[in-house]
C-alpha cells in the first residue's frame, strides 16, 4: 500500500452532522478527484469531526480540491499538512499464517516492530502495529513472507508537528 509520490494530506474540520462524509465523498466523485485514504472521527469538541484525507493529485491541483471542498457548507477549515512537517500514524491489523515451524519468527518480527499479538490460533496469529505509515508498510511487506490471511489498515491520521514555526499552511481560499 505504497502512497503515490504526488500525494497531499488534507486535515479537514467539519461539522459533526449527518451526511457530511457523503457530501465530501460525493464532491470527490463529481469532480473526478481521487481519495487515496480517508479517516474520520469526532474531535474533542463533539460539534466537529476531523477528516484526514490523503489525496492523489496526479490529475488535479490540490488548490482546486481544497477550494471545492471549502464550498461545502459543513466544512469549517482545511489545512494541508506537508508530510515533512506533520506527525502521521496508521494502524494495521493482520491475521498472518504462523505454522508451528514459523511461529517463532513471526513473534520475533512483531517484537522487533514493537507490535502486538492480539489473538493466537492453531496456525495463525492476529497482530497489530501502530506507527508511521512507512514503518507500517515495511511491517506489512515482511508479514507477506509468511502469508497474510486478512489485513486491514485504517488509513493515516495526521497532525502538524510541534515545532516553533508558523502554523501549517492554511489553504482556505478566502
Amino acid at each position: 500500500m505504497a502512497v503515490p509520490v504526488k500525494h497531499h494530506i488534507l486535515s479537514v474540520l467539519v461539522e459533526n452532522k449527518a451526511g457530511v462524509l457523503a457530501r465530501v465523498a460525493s464532491l470527490f466523485a463529481r469532480r473526478g478527484f481521487n481519495i487515496f485514504s480517508l479517516a474520520v472521527a469526532p474531535t474533542d469538541d463533539e460539534r466537529f469531526s476531523r477528516l484526514t484525507i490523503v489525496v492523489d493529485v496526479e490529475a488535479t491541483s490540490i488548490e482546486q480540491i481544497t477550494r471545492q471542498l471549502d464550498k461545502l457548507i459543513n466544512v469549517l477549515q482545511i489545512s494541508e499538512l506537508d508530510p515533512a512537517d506533520s506527525v502521521e500514524r496508521e494502524l494495521l491489523l493482520a491475521t498472518v499464517r504462523a505454522a508451528p515451524a514459523d511461529r517463532g519468527q513471526v513473534i520475533e518480527l512483531v517484537q522487533i516492530f514493537e507490535g502486538r499479538i492480539l489473538a493466537v490460533g492453531h496456525d495463525v496469529l492476529t497482530v497489530s502495529l501502530e506507527g508511521a505509515p512507512a514503518k507500517v508498510d515495511d511491517f506489512e511487506e515482511l508479514l507477506r513472507t509468511y502469508g497474510i490471511v486478512e489485513l486491514q489498515r485504517t488509513g493515516r491520521v495526521a497532525l502538524p508537528k510541534l515545532v516553533r514555526r508558523p502554523q501549517p499552511r492554511a489553504v482556505r481560499a478566502s
Binding site: 449527518a18 451526511g19 488548490e63 482546486q64 477550494r67 464550498k71 457548507i73 466544512v75 481560499a173
Partner: protein, 579 residues
Amino acid sequence: MKLTGAQALIKSLEMESVEVMFGLPGGAILPVYDPIIDSSIRHILVRHEQGAGHMAEGYAHVTGRPGVAMVTSGPAATNIVTPLCDAYMDSIPMVVVTGQVAYSSIGSDAFQECDTTGITMSVTKHNWLVTNAQEIPQVVKEAFHIASSGRPGPVLIDVPKDVSNQMMDWYWPDTLDLPGYRPAGRGDPEMIRAAARALLDAHRPVIYAGGGILKARAADALRELAELTGIHVVTTLMARGAFPDDHPLCLGMPGMHGNYTAVTSMQQADLLVALGSRFDDRVTGKVDGFAPGAKIVHVDVDPAELGKVRRPDVPIVGDCRLVIEELVGAVRDLLAGGSEAPDRSAWNATIDGWRQKYPLAYEPQAEGDALKPQMVLEHLRDSTPDDTIVVSGVGQHQMWASQYWRFNHPYTWVNSGGLGTMGFAVPAAIGAKVGRPDKVVWAVDGDGCFQMTAQELVTASAERIPVKVAILNNAYLGMVRQWQEMFYDERYSEVYLSPDLPDYVKWAEAMGCIGLRAETPEDVQPVIDKANEIDDRPVVIDFRTDSREKVYPMVPAGQANDAIVVPPFQEGRHGEGGH
C-alpha cells in the same frame, strides 16, 4: 404558539417574503399543502414537477429573488432534479421543498420513497433532511440565505411527513448557524490596484463579462468601468443584457456561436478582464489555444473558479459589483496621479474593421423557401418593446435568439446555459411572467424543445399567465442536424421530427392558448402583430422555418477559436480587416 411542522414551514416561507411558489401536491407533502389555503403565498399548480422547477428558475432570473418550488417525494423529487442541476450550473437562486416519507419509514423502501438528499447532493449548493419540526424555521432561514448569497444556487429541503405533522413551538430565528459559510465580499486592495494598473497598461484589452455581473447586480458598475477605460465588452450567453448591445463598446456574444468580432478580439487581446465569467468550454474552445497572448484579470465570488481552467495573473475573490466599483475607484486614482492608457486607436480600428467585414448575417429569404429563422427573430425583435423578456430553450433557436435580439437591459434574457436543458423555455417563461407581470415575455423555442414541456401552457392558461411562444419549427432537432451535416457526412440519424405532427396550432388551442401559424414571409408580421394584441391568455405561433439553415459563425468543437467558421458567403473575406 404551537404549530405543526407544516404550518411552521409555510409561515417561515412567508417570513422570507415569498410571494409565489410553483408546485404539485402528493402523498408525503399533503400536510404542507393544507396551510397553503390560508397563506398569503400564491401557489401555481403545475402539470409536471420539472415545470415547477424551471418556473422557479425563470422567476429567479428576472427578479433576482429565490424561486420557490414545492413537490412531493419519490418521482416528484426525481422530476425536479433536472431544474436543480440547471440552476446549479447557472447559479440561479432557488429553494425546493420536497415531501419525504415518514422519518420512521426512511430506508424501508416505502411507497414513493427515494433518497432525495442523496440524489440531489451534487446538484445543490446545500440540502437538508429535516428530522425535527423544531428545526424548520432555522433551516428555512439558512436555506434562503445560502441560495441567495455568495455565488447563488439551488438548495433543497426534504421534509418527512411525520415531521410535517409534528407540533413545534413557533419562533423566527434572528441568527444563522453556518460556521463554515462565509461568502466573499470586497476584493483584496492590492490585487485591485494591480488590476487597475493592468487595465491602464494594456494595448488590446477586452472585458469578458459573464453571468456573475447579473447575479451581483453589477450592470451599472460594469458600464461605468467600460466607459471610464474605453475598453470593449463581450457578453457571454449568461450575460446577454448585462451590457447594452446598442452601446458602442459592446461586442456581443463570444464563444462557439459567438460573432466573429467578439471571438477574435478575445483571441488577439493582450488583456482579458474576466468579470463573473468562468472560462466555460463553449467560450474558450480548445483551452490551450484560447487568447494565447492575454494576461488575465479574473474576478469571481467563487474562489474555486480562479485558476480552475486558466490561471489568472491577477486573481480577485469578491462580489463582482463591489470589486468593479473598487476597480473604478482605483483606475480613477491612477488617472488622477497622471497615469494614462496607451494609444489604442489602432486596436479600436481593427475591431471596427472586423465588425464591418463580419457582421452577423444570413442569406436573404429566397422566393418560395421556408422562413429564415433569423428573419423571424428580427421581425419579432422589432415588433416588441425594448425591455421585452426573451426566454429560450436550447439549440439553434437559442443561439439565433442570443445573436439576433438586441439586449439593452439586464434581466431580459433567460436561458439554460450551462446544463443546456431542452424544454426550459415554456416553463421558465411562465415563471418570468409571474415575476415580472408588467413586462412582455416571449419564449423563443424550438419544435424539439417545445414538445418536452409544452403541457405547462395548460398551467399558464389556467392561471391566466399570458406568455407568448414563438416556435421556430424546422421539423428537426436542428442543432444535432447541423452537427450531423457538418461533422458526420450528412448522415442524419434520428433527428427528423415532422413539421405538422403534432399540429402545434391545434395543440395550443387544446391547451387554452391562441394558436397561430406563419408559413410564408408575408405571414410573419401579421401573426406577430396579432400575438402582441392578445393579453389575456397565452399565444403560440408555429413559424415554419428552413431546416437547412445553420448557426454561424461556428468554432468546431475541440478546436481553438482561431478556427472560427463564418457563413459560406463571408468566407472570401477571411484574413482581412487587420487579422
